[in-house]
């Protein structure tokens, strides 16, 4: 059975292996180059300093002129890898057999349809997951060597760290398989797989602030938490007793802006009762939990899609 699978999916597996080898050669090379540049430009001294003021300006600029493109490309590459795997490996997995009628041969053999699907999935899924995790490791090492640190919730960072890439790949491939079994045509299945994977990712990204309990951060008036916590969009002002200022009072604050010159703005705000600002955030330390929750959602969806695919194949004559 496995020999048959190897013969059937040889081109796909060779492409995956080539990608792995290519990444394994290029990314460590880039990593060592970027690390050397980082050292010779003494950028470690610039960490935490304002990037556009002071003596670090030239060095940071020289560094980003050379590397920004490569760093961005590595991020985007890793973000899109699961989508592409779902589209090119997941969608044709069942669709091609159904389209060309070769499933009839498989279905009339001594093995069950569930096993028929499981073997195919395993042959595609395991190498894909391996590639994803290897690529993730290589890309993160590259980004780390370049001193990349935008906080765990920044959207290009969240999607490439922790469990995210592997769970995206699992979900994308099963979604593609399901779309293929449903539509029975490769090309439409690929389109649907692409669109639905992107839509699912965007939706879940937007749901991040609602997946974990929030914590209230109290700030100075006009202050701004800059530690990279995930903003939930809930914010406002507190009065001297620590009570949330009602909406009418907040509207009244706008008059301060128009009436007073900017210097005694905050005094005017105090008069209107606003003493502190607050934002509801999900703290940086919770990033691991959020990854766990998101990965569980994707894994759950993947199981549902797998069951759906089995159901569709059982009914197919």
């Amino acid at each position: 059975m496995f020999w048959l699978m190897w013969r059937r999916y040889r081109p796909q597996l060779i492409v995956l292996a080539s990608l792995l080898v290519l990444g394994g050669l290029v990314l460590p090379l880039l990593t060592s180059l970027v690390a050397e540049d980082f050292r010779t430009l003494h950028l470690d001294q610039c960490a935490g300093q304002a990037q556009y003021i002071g003596p670090c300006v030239q060095r940071v600029q020289a560094f980003s002129a050379t590397w920004n493109f490569w760093l961005e490309a590595a991020r985007i590459g890793l973000l899109t890898l699961p989508v592409l795997l779902g589209m090119f490996l997941g969608a044709p997995l069942v669709a091609r057999e159904l389209e060309q009628g070769t499933h009839v041969l498989g279905f009339t053999q001594s093995i069950s349809r569930t096993r028929w699907l499981l073997t195919r999935l395993a042959v595609i899924l395991l190498p894909s997951l391996l590639l994803t995790v290897a690529a993730q490791w290589l890309v993160l090492r590259f980004l780390l060597a370049a001193g990349d640190d935008r906080g765990p919730y920044y959207w290009t960072r969240f999607g490439i760290s922790d469990l995210a890439p592997a769970s995206y790949t699992l979900f994308a491939i099963l979604l593609g398989t399901f779309a293929g079994a449903l539509l029975r045509r490769t090309l439409p299945a690929m389109v649907v797989s692409l669109t639905a994977t992107v839509a699912a990712r965007v939706t879940l990204d937007a749901l991040h602030p609602f997946l974990l309990p929030r914590r209230r951060l109290v700030t100075e008036l006009g202050g701004w938490p800059a530690d990279g916590s995930l903003m939930t969009g809930v914010r406002g002002y507190l009065d001297a007793q620590g009570q949330v200022l009602p909406q009418e009072a907040v509207t009244a604050l706008h008059d301060c802006r128009q009436a007073a010159p900017s210097t005694d703005q905050w005094a005017c705000w105090h008069e209107h009762g606003a003493v502190h600002g607050f934002v509801d955030v999900i703290p940086v330390a919770e990033a691991g939990t959020l990854h766990l929750v998101e990965a569980s959602i994707f894994a759950g969806l993947a199981v549902l899609l797998f069951l759906g695919t089995i159901g569709l194949l059982r009914r197919k004559v």
């Binding site: 600029q61 920004n68 701004w224």
Partner: protein
């Protein structure tokens, strides 16, 4: 013939129309919402190039938090579009006929293969290019209205901005589409054609970006040691480094040695070692259109060669 070509690609073309409509409406709405945000809230009047005052820092940061990445996503969309068009319209164009054997019917009609090919290509290409132009126009209108609070602040050569502006997306779409058609005809398999098209598409963007310094000679800009020569990177930088008082260039190893020797703040020690100026070999921002034109022409020429190649492959097919 046009009717046949339309019938064969109906699903793709209808999808294309629906996607254009949805995305176009979304872009127009985003543009409108952003303008509203810009005018109703504080950032109006806080244009960065006039210098950010302390009052402006927070509204500008909040505005950019809301919109900057979204605008970048718009640019990425325009960059991905040629790939999607080449993959889903270009690659299956002849590959599907050849894979399913339906080309036999087409080849045995009174219509010549050249006409069959050209009609099919045009029926796919004209709507695809129109869609691209409309969406690109919507995105650029949106980005321009954010002025220097949006991604355009980094100048026309910033990779995402460069490949999503001017004639480059159009010419590149033409290239990727013809490439997909050619690879489909050559491999006779939709999936293989699509996979190779995707690979070349990615390599093509990298080539467009990395070959930008090939076409025009740079201009050398000198500046003081303590002041960056190019400012914010609005120019296309070929090379930067240091020169002495007579204009002689210092090698990278020499400069590194000097930097290691001088660890006190200030630049007197650097001057003592003979460094007088920083230099940058750049292409000015005003020349961006020339670069677009040259690279666009290369894409169009490649597309023409691919059309000829496709015809040659199809003619040899029995």
């Amino acid at each position: 013939m046009i009717w046949v070509a339309w019938r064969q690609q109906r699903a793709q073309l209808i999808t294309l129309a629906v996607v254009s409509l949805v995305v176009g409406t979304a872009l127009a709405m985003l543009h409108w919402l952003m303008l509203d945000d810009l005018h109703s809230a504080e950032p109006a009047g806080c244009w960065i190039q006039q210098g950010i005052s302390a009052d402006c820092r927070k509204p500008v940061a909040e505005f950019q938090n809301r919109w900057f990445d979204l605008m970048k996503v718009g640019q990425v969309g325009i960059i991905a579009l040629p790939g999607l068009i080449g993959l889903f319209l270009g690659a299956p164009m002849f590959a599907r006929d050849l894979e399913q054997g339906t080309h036999v019917l087409a080849f045995t009609q009174s219509v010549g293969r050249a006409r069959w090919m050209v009609t099919k290509l045009l029926v796919g290409l004209v709507p695809a290019l129109s869609m691209l132009l409309v969406l690109q126009w919507l995105v650029s209108r949106w980005l321009v209205s954010a002025r220097d609070l949006g991604p355009l602040i980094t100048g026309p050569y910033e990779p995402l901005t460069f490949v999503s502006a001017n004639v480059t997306p159009l010419a590149f779409t033409l290239f990727v589409f013809c490439l997909g058609a050619f690879l489909g005809a050559l491999t006779r398999r939709t999936l293989s054609g699509m996979t190779i098209t995707l690979g070349v598409f990615v390599a093509g963007w990298a080539a467009l970006l990395s070959m930008r310094t090939v076409w025009f000679p740079p201009v050398r800009v000198l500046s003081d040691l303590d002041y960056s020569p190019s400012g914010p990177e609005v120019v296309l930088s070929y090379r930067t480094g240091y020169v002495g008082a007579q204009g002689q260039e210092f090698g990278r190893d020499q400069v590194n040695a000097i930097m290691r020797a001088c660890d006190q703040p200030g630049y007197d020690c650097w001057r003592g070692h003979g460094l007088a100026h920083q230099f940058a070999d750049v292409l000015p921002a005003a020349d961006a259109w020339k670069l677009h034109l040259v690279e666009g022409s290369v894409c169009v020429a490649l597309a023409a060669a691919l059309v000829i190649g496709t015809f040659w492959v199809l003619r040899g097919r029995v």
